[in-house]
């Protein structure tokens, strides 16, 4: 079994996303407990002790991020929830937004209390429709119930939340670009320093957390960090929501404990490979992470340490399962098209490099590749490694290098013969 649950512990019904149902399953008890019994610093300490790692992709410890904010420093603090889930292959936050929006609102209240943030924001992906409506309805219910606004639950604590819908840009999922966009400007990422926890939204200390990271907070506050640490592995405590797609029988969102073996996940949750196909490789955490071959991933467990040791990352937990018979050159072409389309155009290596990557992969796929193209793809990726303002350029480089390293012979074949090693159909085991 995939172990204990933090989020998926209730049956989904027609009303399970409402305030009444959420309260019935113990909702808003954590914020009540925090306001009655805990100081803001204690909430931060509890989150830090729980060791919850960010679920947006970088796996930065949430408690440490919160701990950087100096309370009572005379300036406003902001908390922003990053619901601009745009990484290809990732759709786990959408499940939380659609099915348990009040859990997120409670998490935001706890975060706001811990960080002393009077104003909080949710930056939600513009394409999310049901998710947005569910969250907006939940917020309305919460305001009506006195859970937001002034004097929350009869205390002096006050907090407002604004939902802001993005306009469809991938790079606005990067925290600093999100804040720039939230300020009403073009969604360009910002240079560090300064860090966002020093000068973020409107140049004030700001914490940006992923939806799933925030969703962990009510559980931690309610049950304590010790209980939370019992889930998962010592270095990757808790659970993860994996959104899995590709050549499998039952794609979807599944909650598993960190440390769950991939082989079990593939066999049980994913329902095995589609029509009995053979596993070729897995893009483990959204397309920005390096691809893992079947041999790489089959023996390992799904936690940060194991994935790092295998040469990749859990990233944003959007897993794409690729079956034998898939052309990796075409896969790279699709990926570079995405990065080219989504590059914000601010800094040179990414603005020019993403287009160059796509042009080269288009040309190879069209049968007009040159042997020097492989070296050129490596060079463009290298030129983007650590040289760009945000991580988009790096990510595209990692993804490209990941595929080239593992499947170079497919590229050489394609360039030499002007056609793919595969006919495009997924190979099905007899």
């Amino acid at each position: 079994m995939s172990g204990q649950r933090v989020f998926m512990d209730f049956p989904i019904t027609a009303t399970s996303h409402t305030l009444a149902d959420y309260r019935a399953r113990g909702g808003y008890e954590a914020i009540g407990k925090a306001l009655r019994e805990m100081q803001p610093e204690q909430v931060t300490k509890e989150v830090a002790t729980a060791g919850v790692l960010g679920h947006g992709g970088a796996a930065f410890p949430a408690g440490r991020k919160w701990g950087v904010i100096t309370l009572n420093d005379g300036q406003p603090h902001y908390l922003c929830m990053n619901a601009d889930e745009g990484e290809p292959g990732t759709f786990k936050d959408r499940w939380l937004l659609e099915h348990t929006p009040h859990l997120l609102l409670e998490g935001m209240l706890l975060g706001a209390y811990a960080l002393q943030a009077r104003h909080t924001f949710v930056y939600i992906r513009g394409e999310f429709d049901l998710a947005y409506r569910r969250l907006a309805d939940a917020l309305e219910e919460a305001y009506a119930a006195g859970l937001f606004g002034e004097q929350i639950l009869g205390t002096d604590f006050a907090c407002d939340l604004v939902i802001y819908r993005g306009a469809g840009s991938y790079v606005c999922g990067e925290a600093s670009a999100m804040l720039t966009s939230l300020e009403g400007k073009k969604g360009y990422p910002r240079n560090r320093p300064p860090r966002l926890t020093v000068a973020g939204l409107y140049q004030k200390p700001t914490v940006v957390n992923n939806v799933e990271t925030i969703a962990n907070v009510p559980y931690i506050v309610k049950h304590g960090s010790a209980r939370f640490r019992e889930i998962g592995t010592p270095k990757s405590p808790g659970t993860q929501l994996l959104s899995v797609s590709g050549h499998i029988n039952t794609p979807g969102v599944y909650e598993v404990e960190y440390g769950y073996p991939f082989a079990d996940f593939l066999a049980n949750e994913c329902g095995g490979m589609l029509r009995g196909a053979t596993l070729k490789c897995v893009i483990p955490g959204g397309i920005s992470t390096k691809v893992l071959t079947a041999a790489d991933i089959m023996p390992i467990t799904m936690d940060h340490q194991a994935f790092l040791a295998a040469g990749s990352q859990i990233g944003s937990q959007g897993m794409i399962i690729v079956a034998e018979g898939t052309c990796m050159v075409s896969l790279l072409q699709v990926m570079t098209r995405f990065y080219h389309h989504e590059s914000c155009g601010q800094c040179t290596p990414c603005r020019e490099g993403m287009g160059w990557l796509e042009k080269i992969s288009n040309r190879i796929v069209a049968g007009r590749g040159a042997p020097s193209d492989i070296e050129r793809l490596y060079q463009i990726s290298r030129a983007n490694d650590g040289t760009t303002i945000c991580g988009l350029g790096d990510a595209a480089g990692y993804a490209t290098v990941g595929i080239l390293d593992k499947y170079r012979e497919e590229f050489e074949y394609y360039i030499a013969n002007g056609r793919s090693m595969y006919d495009g159909r997924v190979e099905v085991a007899v």
């Binding site: 290596p349 287009g355 060079q379």
Partner: protein, 491 residues
């Protein structure tokens, strides 16, 4: 002060300075495109990447956004840094047309310089370049070639941070990004718009005025002062080099002012000037008076001086209207020679033109004359009711420069006029003596804050046109000798 090291050389930096600022201040060279000392730091060109040696291994970041910390060891020319620069230059020139041969910026282009210094390789790309709009009119004055643009955003930041017109922005994203004028703003209304041409590091933003007029290496820059208002911005006046004078070109084209650019002067204008300074040719290249006139007839300088001296010597109630376009030297010469013979007033040679911005908190000042400060330090200002200063009994008005209130001069009074330009008001004068303009002589102006700035001559004036300073001396000598004869006659 914080000490750190650039390429092993100890450098003193102010607290809070970035590595780039400290490097520029201490004379170290780190290449940059998007960074500009007067603008915010977007860190988007990535060419200023440097290496920092550290205990846990070297790290790389852009020097324009890297705060100096004590003892940090920065390398600006390590093997890895050179490789990063080569890669970045490849990226920057990837979709740039590299059409230097037909580009107006050629010869003073940062991209050319950096490409020569840090890359020098042809493009590694086998793919066609991304095409974009060319000959796009950002305004009536400025043409944008989007293919040459490297998206450094200097122009956008200039309009947001310096001129505050917020006229420019970026449309679209990725390698389709375009600099565009905002829909609700007319960039022509920004009186500082042409500065974006100077700060553009490539040939993307070009002056319509200079477009295809001359390669920059045919031109020479003469340091000068803008006479457009009492700010007195330092400027460079660009004219054709003598050795590049072409016989096939019209004489007027060989001698014209090809362009005017700001000359950085932190005490007065920083690195900016307004568009009026760019358009000084419209003032300086008006039709000139080239020959002295007495009673409307052309004559020699000597006889015109004689005629003027006779009038001055004979006058009982003479008034002089002093030019506030005269240099400090000319004002001093007038003060020392002719001034005692007259009742002197400073007149405004130039009035604000319709539609001109009167004053703002960037550069533009309300008084549209360059040397009012120095002139008024010596002589009183002509009252707005000019006739109160020029009573009916006035029998001679000595007018220096243009813009005199001719209507306020009694009909019985004679007028001696020292002017450069052929203007309708000249017909009122009995004697007209042509004087040189600012581009034909050297001198100093003192601006509204008391700061003196010098200007040099771009070229000589024609022989029959004299400097006012020289004329005052000759007139003074002539008047003195007439007076000596008169005194002798009386005796």
């Amino acid at each position: 002060m914080v000490e750190f090291f650039i390429d092993g050389v100890p450098v003193q930096a102010e607290r809070g300075q970035t590595v780039m600022q400290a490097a520029v201040a201490s004379g170290h060279t780190i290449p940059y495109f998007c960074w500009h000392p007067q603008l915010s730091t977007p860190g988007n060109c990535r060419i200023c990447m440097v290496e920092v040696e550290a205990e846990g291994g070297a790290w790389f970041d852009i020097s324009c956004n890297m705060p100096v910390t004590a003892g940090m060891r920065v390398l600006t020319d390590s093997e890895k840094v050179r490789e990063l620069r080569r890669d970045t230059m490849q990226m920057i020139t990837l979709n740039h047309p590299v059409d230097c041969g037909i580009c107006n910026k050629s010869g003073e282009c940062m991209l050319q310089d950096h490409h020569f210094a840090y890359n020098g390789m042809p493009s590694l790309s086998r793919d066609p370049k991304q095409h974009a709009t060319k000959f796009h009119d950002l305004s009536d004055r400025i043409m944008l070639d989007n293919e040459r643009c490297i998206m450094c955003s200097r122009c956008v930041r200039f309009t947001a941070e310096v001129s505050k017109s917020n006229a420019l922005g970026v449309q679209h994203r990725g390698d389709h990004s375009l600099i565009r004028c905002a829909a609700d703003v007319n960039f022509d209304d920004d009186p500082y718009s042409d500065n974006v041409i100077d700060i553009c590091p490539v040939g993307a933003l070009l002056s319509r005025d200079l477009l295809d007029h001359a390669r920059v290496w045919y031109l020479k820059a003469t340091p000068s002062v803008c006479p457009g208002c009492e700010r007195g911005c330092s400027i460079n006046i660009w004219t054709r080099k003598t050795e590049w004078t072409l016989r096939s070109l019209d004489q007027r084209l060989n001698n014209r002012i090809d362009r005017i650019t700001p000359l950085e002067n932190p005490a007065v204008n920083g690195p900016w000037v307004c568009n009026k300074a760019r358009d000084l040719a419209a003032i300086f290249e008006r039709p000139r008076v080239t020959h002295p006139l007495v009673g409307g007839q052309e004559t020699s300088v000597a006889s015109a001086i004689e005629a003027a001296a006779a009038l001055i010597a004979a006058a009982r109630h003479p008034v002089a209207l002093v030019s506030n376009w005269g240099s400090n030297e000319e004002l001093a010469a007038f003060h020392a020679t002719l001034a005692p013979s007259f009742q002197n007033f400073v007149k405004h040679d130039w009035q604000p033109q319709p539609g001109e911005r009167l004053e703002d908190d960037v550069l533009i000042k309300a008084d549209k004359n360059p040397n009012s400060y120095a002139a008024r330090a010596i002589f009183p200002l002509l009252p707005s009711d000019a006739s109160s200063a020029i009573p009916l009994s006035t029998d001679l008005v000595f007018v220096w420069g243009e813009g005199a209130p001719m209507h306020a001069i009694p009909e019985s009074a004679q007028v001696v006029l020292l002017t450069s330009y052929a203007l309708p008001e000249n017909t009122r004068a009995h004697v007209v003596l042509p004087i040189s303009i600012q581009t034909e002589r050297a001198g100093h102006y003192t601006n509204f804050a008391g700061t003196s700035t010098g200007f040099s001559a771009c070229g000589p004036a024609v022989a029959t046109v004299s400097d006012a300073e020289r004329l005052f001396e000759r007139l003074f000598a002539a008047v003195s000798s007439v007076q000596a004869i008169m005194t002798a006659g009386v005796r």
